[in-house]
Structures are given as structure tokens and as C-alpha cells.
């Protein structure tokens, strides 16, 4: 009983009335809060809360008059006057003048829309809170003072305190940029149209998506290049995930096998690839397989080959190599994970099966694998989608090479080992900086990855009891 009152000490809305009900049943002060925010709270003694509402309202109106309306009005066109050049007779040169800035218009336009949404939500909250205070007063309950609200931030409402900074960061540095980039997919923002210095950029509707799916140009068309890269991306993700998975489990079983000594030594040697920063090992191994690298040198010294092999110049070799080197990088992770899980498999399962005459291969097939798959299914999914976007391994090993001579429509020198993600990177950093195409690709990647995730998750049904039982 004592606990219950404690939990209710800081409750904000003790009734469950929604906005409409609050407004309809509210008294004059509550209704007036629709025009003067915070009024309803203030007349019932919640001065600080009322003041904050009012301050937000005033600032919002001032912002909308001063700049918000400008950004909104420019949003449909993304700028009207581009940069101009005027002849300066004195210096005998053209002096550029920069005018509208499409980038800023889009950015602040989006921010203004966010702000309007936030304002509407706050406005509704203001009425709900006013009605809440009204009800409490009528029933003679205690109305939260400002100091109670502040206290609540370290107690019942501590989650707000904890979440504020991380959520602010995620909103500003992940959510907002992604929203912005989704819009970019419908503009012509690139190096030649950077929105300010070179040229304005503007809305182009679905043109960029049409370009991606266009067959014009036959073999070298965007769509053909896209299909080729998509096929390889899926194949790569499949090979990379499952090769690591099965080999990693096998290695873990070998190290944990009864009677094998120096377990710690074997583990430590493998874990080196996790400990050493990946870019060093990847770059170095990539150079080992260069035409003039150590591997060719070794093979020629042994007399096994006569001329150096150009591993990174041959599409098939390059593709096999990235998968194999990825195994070298990936087995240790799986070995660590599998070791932990293998120890959890009840030993009597093995004992019983041995008595029934099962051999080690059967044990692996019917006990170890089903158990592993059951426990690590979500991990397999994330590692599959992670591999689809495995930028580092591809970019640092092969750089996407060898270049595909047929892929003329796509810039950035797209190659046979390029994944969608490295292609996107090359497009954005390419000579024309076609950000809009990068953005279109980003959206396509999102659609593919989320479709796979959804399908698998629904098939698995293993997300049903996410930590809620704790």
C-alpha cells in the first residue's frame, strides 16, 4: 500500500482523458489555454509550468514570423535566385554573388516542419495538463508543484533524464540526416547543383528512381549495373555469413574437444584478428595478394607458378579472395560466440546419444547444429544484413575492383566486388558527386534489408519475449 502511494507521488496525468475529452469537459481556463498556452496551469497554481508553456508559444510565434514562414514558403521551389556573376570593371573580373541556398532551405524547411509538429503536440499536452489540474483541484487532490516535477526527473521520471541526451543526439545526427537524405532522392543535388555556390538544386520527382531502373544503354545501363551488384551483394552476404558461421562453430568445437591441450593459446592466436585494428590487417593482407606481393613471391620461389597472378585483376579470383579473407577475419568472432553457447548444451544429451550409438557427425548434425541455430538465429539475421553493408572488408581489401568495363552508366569506376554500399560511397565521392543517386541507392538498400529482416523475423517468431520477462 505504501509503495502504491509512492508511485503515484509524481504522476502527471492521473486520468486517462484524451485531448478531445479534455477540451470538451474543460472549464473556461482550460478552454482559454487553447489560445494562451499555460493559462489553465497557471490559474491553478502551476506558475512555472504555465510560464514554460507560454514561453514556448511566444518563441514559436516569433520564430515562425521571423524565419519559419520564409523557409516554408521556399520549400516548394528550393530557392528562386541562383548564384549570379557580375562584371567588376575595376578588377576586370567576374565577382560571384550567392543568393538563395537550396541546402539550407531544405534543411530548415524540414526543421520547421518538425517544430510545428512539436508545437501541436505541446499545445495538446497543455490542454490535457490544464484539465488534469482542474480535475485534481475539483477532487481536492494535491496538484504537482514545479519542484515536484523537478524531483520526478531523478525518480519516476528518471528515464526522461537518462534518455534526453542520447535521444537528442540520435535525432540530430541520425534521424534528421536520414530524413533529409530521403528528400534528396527526389532532387538533383550533386556537385554541379550544390544549392549555393555552383547552382541551386530543385525537386525532380521520381526521375532519379526512373534512372536507376532504366534499361537505356543496354549492358551498361544503370539497371543492369544495379542488378549485377545486387546479385553479388546477396551472394556475398550469404557466403560470408554462412562460411564464417559453420567454420567458426567447427573451430570452436575443435578447440573445446576433450583432450586438446593449450586451449587458451589457440584461442589467443585466433583472437589476434579481432584485437588488431581491422584496417591494418585488411590493408596488409590485400597487399600480400598484390601482383608484386608476398604471396606471388612465395609461389614463384617455390617454383609453383612462373608468372605472378593478378588476383585483384581477375573478377573470379577477387571474389573468392574477399570471401576467404573474410573467413580469416570472421572465424574468431564466431569461435568466441560458439564457445559460450556450446558450453550451455546439456552434456547428458551427448551422453545419451552416445549410448544410443550416435557417432560424432550425427551428434553434430542432430544435437549441436539445431541447438546453435535455435539460439543464434537472430544473430545470423543481423550478421547477414551486416554483411550486405560490410563496407570495410570490401573497400579496404579490393576497393571494389576489378573495374567492370561494362558498367559505363554508373560512375565511380564500379567493379566486380563492389557491394551496393561501396557503390553508394563511390557515387557520392565520385567526380560528379551525384548525391541524389547515392540517396536513391540508400533507400533501395533500406527496402531490401528491412524486407529481409521482416520476413525472417516473422518466420522466426523469436522476438516474442524480448527481455520483458525480466
Amino acid at each position: 500500500m505504501g509503495k502504491k502511494t509512492k508511485d503515484n507521488k509524481y504522476d502527471e496525468l492521473f486520468h486517462k482523458a484524451g485531448f478531445a475529452e479534455s477540451f470538451a469537459k474543460g472549464d473556461a481556463a482550460t478552454k482559454l489555454s487553447a489560445i494562451i498556452m499555460g493559462l489553465g496551469c497557471a490559474v491553478r497554481g502551476q506558475l512555472a509550468r504555465g510560464f514554460i508553456f507560454l514561453a514556448f508559444q511566444v518563441l514559436f510565434i516569433l520564430y515562425m514570423i521571423n524565419s519559419g514562414s520564409y523557409w516554408l514558403s521556399m520549400l516548394p521551389s528550393l530557392g528562386k535566385v541562383g548564384p549570379t556573376k557580375e562584371y567588376d570593371a575595376f578588377f576586370d573580373t567576374y565577382v560571384p554573388t550567392y543568393n538563395d541556398n537550396s541546402f539550407e532551405i531544405l534543411l530548415y524547411g524540414i526543421l520547421t516542419i518538425f517544430l510545428i509538429v512539436a508545437f501541436i503536440l505541446t499545445w495538446a499536452l497543455n490542454i490535457k495538463m490544464s484539465y488534469d489540474a482542474q480535475l485534481k483541484k475539483e477532487k481536492g487532490k494535491k496538484i504537482n508543484r514545479f519542484i515536484d516535477d523537478v524531483h520526478s526527473l531523478v525518480d519516476e521520471g528518471f528515464y526522461k533524464t537518462l534518455l534526453s541526451l542520447p535521444m537528442l543526439g540520435i535525432t540530430l545526427f541520425t534521424f534528421l540526416p536520414i530524413v533529409f537524405m530521403i528528400f534528396i532522392a527526389f532532387t538533383n543535388y550533386d556537385g554541379k547543383h550544390d544549392g549555393y555556390i555552383t547552382n541551386l538544386f530543385t525537386w525532380v520527382g521520381l526521375d532519379n528512381f526512373r534512372t536507376l531502373f532504366s534499361m537505356a544503354g543496354g549492358k551498361g545501363s544503370y539497371f543492369n549495373v544495379f542488378l549485377g551488384i545486387l546479385g553479388w551483394t546477396v551472394a556475398w552476404a550469404f557466403l560470408a555469413t554462412f562460411s564464417n558461421y559453420f567454420l567458426g562453430i567447427l573451430v570452436a568445437m575443435m578447440i573445446n574437444k576433450k583432450g586438446i591441450k593449450f586451449k587458451k593459446l589457440w584461442r589467443t592466436i585466433l583472437v589476434l584478428t579481432i584485437a588488431i585494428p581491422q584496417f591494418i590487417s585488411l590493408l596488409y593482407v590485400s597487399k600480400m595478394f598484390d601482383k608484386g606481393g608476398i604471396v606471388n613471391g612465395f609461389l614463384m620461389n617455390m617454383g609453383w607458378i612462373n608468372a605472378p597472378i593478378d588476383y585483384w585483376g581477375n573478377p573470379t579470383y577477387a571474389r573468392i579472395l574477399v570471401v576467404v579473407i573474410n573467413i580469416w577475419i570472421g572465424i574468431p568472432y564466431l569461435m568466441l560466440i560458439a564457445t559460450g553457447i556450446l558450453m550451455n548444451i546439456p552434456a547428458d544429451l551427448y551422453e545419451a546419444s552416445r549410448i544410443d550409438g550416435a557417432n560424432p557427425i550425427q551428434q553434430f548434425r542432430y544435437i549441436t547444429m539445431p541447438y546453435m541455430l535455435f539460439v543464434t538465429a537472430p544473430y545470423l539475421l543481423t550478421s547477414f544484413t551486416g554483411n550486405m553493408n560490410n563496407f570495410n572488408v570490401i573497400y579496404l581489401l579490393s576497393g571494389g575492383n576489378p573495374v567492370n568495363p561494362n558498367a559505363s552508366a554508373a560512375d565511380g569506376g564500379v567493379g566486380y566486388t563492389d557491394l551496393l554500399i561501396t557503390w553508394l560511397y563511390k557515387i557520392a565521392l565520385g567526380s560528379e558527386s551525384r548525391y541524389y543517386m547515392a540517396s536513391v541507392l540508400g533507400i533501395v538498400i533500406f527496402i531490401i534489408v528491412s524486407t529481409i529482416t521482416l520476413l525472417v523475423y516473422n518466420g522466426l517468431g523469436s522476438n516474442k519475449n524480448e527481455g520483458d520477462m525480466a
Binding site: 540526416p177 585466433l270 583472437v271 584496417f279 590493408l283 600480400m288 608484386g292 580469416w328 547515392a438 534489408v449
Partner: protein, 287 residues
């Protein structure tokens, strides 16, 4: 008589099996160690600075290491070190508050928030980089000033990686919280005085991964340092030494630089390995 025969047979079988496993493990160890041995050996090669087909130097020396200190490598190293230290302090704060909240509190927006972050996480991170680069540039935080810019980017969204730590908090019994609350502690005191001391393994895991990540980030660091050497981190800097126009004069220096970067990070990792293993294992099982 027969049973001893069988026993002997099984023992022999097991011995052969073990010998086979040993053989495989030894071969694997050689494969795993070869690149690292090679890079160390080549970093001591002084007779030439380009790639060669042999491993053991004909002339040994420390020239490459000395040359490192006269190059931009020291700047890159400091850049990366500063970023790593700041990240190791800030990221865990973000991750732990996020994961603890989502594990312990039940509030209206909890599930929508988790779905929101799951969906955000499905977008390729590079997508956000294009705009972040432009924003940082407008703030003057790119090129020479890339360090604060990179810190901002690495830290701001780090709360998204809350899964593993949340899984850990889920395993700490809530009865601890409840008994402390009955004794009059508020939620904040519970967090700092009861949960944090218990969460030492996961705190160390988050600090370790936050410290190690900046050493390996290549994608965004290359973007932000664009066109200048002063703002690079070690990954981008050493990568630039392997590009076509530099590799012939810098290859052995790359090897030396790689060794210098790898030693402290590797030692730290090996030292705290136990916590890392706990983290990844827990994370994989929880999903």
C-alpha cells in the same frame, strides 16, 4: 578380453582424432599469424621502401620507425588517440543510460522508441554521412578541424548501440531495485548505487569497444578529412600511403605505422578480453 580390446581401439581412435585436430589447429595458427609476422618483419626492412616478393629483410634497421616521427603519422596518431579517449568516456554514458532505461522503465513510448531505433538502424549509415559532412563543414568542423567533428558524430548517435548492454541489464534481477526503492532510494540512486557497481563487466565492455572503434573507422573519417592530411585518423592516413602514387616510397613505413598502432590497442584488448567475450557472447544469444 574383448572389452579391453574395444577400449584400446577407442583410445587409439581418439588419439588419431586428437592428432588430426592438433594438425588442423597448427595449420590454422600458422595461417592466422603469417600476416602479422610478415608486417612486423617488413617494418624492419631498410634496403627498399616498396613492395617486394620476400619477407625477411636483407638489411635490418629502425629507419621506417624513425621516418614515422618526421611524417604526419604523429598528427594522425594524436588525432585518433584524442577521439578514442573522448569516445571511451562519452559513448558508455550514452549507451548505459539508453540501455538501462529501456531495460528497467516501462513508459508509454518505450516500444515505439525501440521500433524507431530498429528502423533507423536498417538505413545504411553512409546515407547520413553525406549531409553530416556538409553540416560539419558549415560549422567549420571538417578538414583541419576534423577531430571535434568526428567526436561529435561518433558520440551523438552512440545510444543506438544499446542492445548488448540492455541484454545485460535484463539479466540483473529487478528485486534488487525494488528492495532499494522500499528502503527509500529514488530511481537515480538505484541506478548509480545499486546497478552501476553490478554492471562493471558491461561498463568495461562498452568502454573497450568505444575506445577501439575510432582506430578502425575509415569510411566517415575519410569523408571528413577530405583533401587534407592534418585531419586524418590513422586508418585514413595509413590507407593514403598505400595509394598508387605513394606506395613505392611509403610501403615499409605503412608496416611500421601499422605495428605502432596495433601494439597498444592489441595489448589493451588482450588485457580486457574476458569482458569482450562476455559482451559478444551475450549479445549474440540475445540477438
Amino acid at each position: 578380453m574383448m572389452s579391453t580390446d574395444r577400449k584400446l581401439g577407442m583410445k587409439a581412435k581418439e588419439r588419431i582424432g586428437n592428432a588430426f585436430v592438433y594438425l588442423l589447429l597448427i595449420i590454422m595458427s600458422i595461417i592466422w599469424l603469417t600476416p602479422f609476422v610478415c608486417i612486423v618483419l617488413q617494418s624492419f626492412r631498410v634496403e627498399s621502401t616498396w613492395q617486394v616478393g620476400y619477407v625477411i629483410p636483407k638489411e635490418w634497421g629502425l629507419d621506417n620507425y624513425r621516418a614515422l616521427f618526421d611524417s604526419d603519422f604523429t598528427t594522425w596518431y594524436m588525432n585518433t588517440f584524442i577521439i578514442a579517449v573522448v569516445c571511451a568516456i562519452v559513448n558508455p554514458l550514452m549507451v548505459l543510460s539508453m540501455s538501462y532505461t529501456l531495460s528497467r522503465f516501462r513508459f508509454k513510448m518505450r516500444k515505439p522508441l525501440m521500433k524507431f531505433m530498429l528502423i533507423l538502424g536498417l538505413f545504411p549509415g553512409i546515407l547520413a554521412m553525406i549531409i553530416l559532412y556538409r553540416l560539419l563543414k558549415d560549422m567549420g568542423l571538417t578538414q583541419e578541424n576534423a577531430v571535434p567533428g568526428l567526436i561529435l558524430v561518433y558520440c551523438a548517435s552512440s545510444g543506438m548501440g544499446y542492445y548488448i548492454a540492455k541484454g545485460f541489464f535484463d539479466t540483473i534481477s529487478t528485486s534488487l531495485d525494488e528492495s532499494a526503492r522500499i528502503d527509500g532510494a529514488n530511481r537515480m540512486q538505484v541506478f548509480f548505487k545499486i546497478i552501476m557497481p553490478l554492471a562493471k563487466p558491461i561498463v568495461i565492455y562498452t568502454v573497450l569497444t568505444a575506445f577501439m572503434a575510432p582506430w578502425g573507422d575509415f569510411m566517415f573519417a575519410k569523408f571528413v578529412a577530405f583533401g587534407t592530411s592534418k585531419g586524418m585518423n590513422v586508418a585514413v592516413g595509413l590507407w593514403s600511403w598505400l595509394t598508387k602514387d605513394q606506395i613505392n616510397s611509403r610501403y615499409t613505413m605503412f608496416c611500421a605505422g601499422g605495428v605502432i598502432v596495433a601494439i597498444p590497442v592489441t595489448l589493451l584488448f588482450m588485457f580486457l578480453q574476458k569482458y569482450y567475450v562476455e559482451g559478444v557472447t551475450g549479445g549474440a544469444v540475445k540477438g
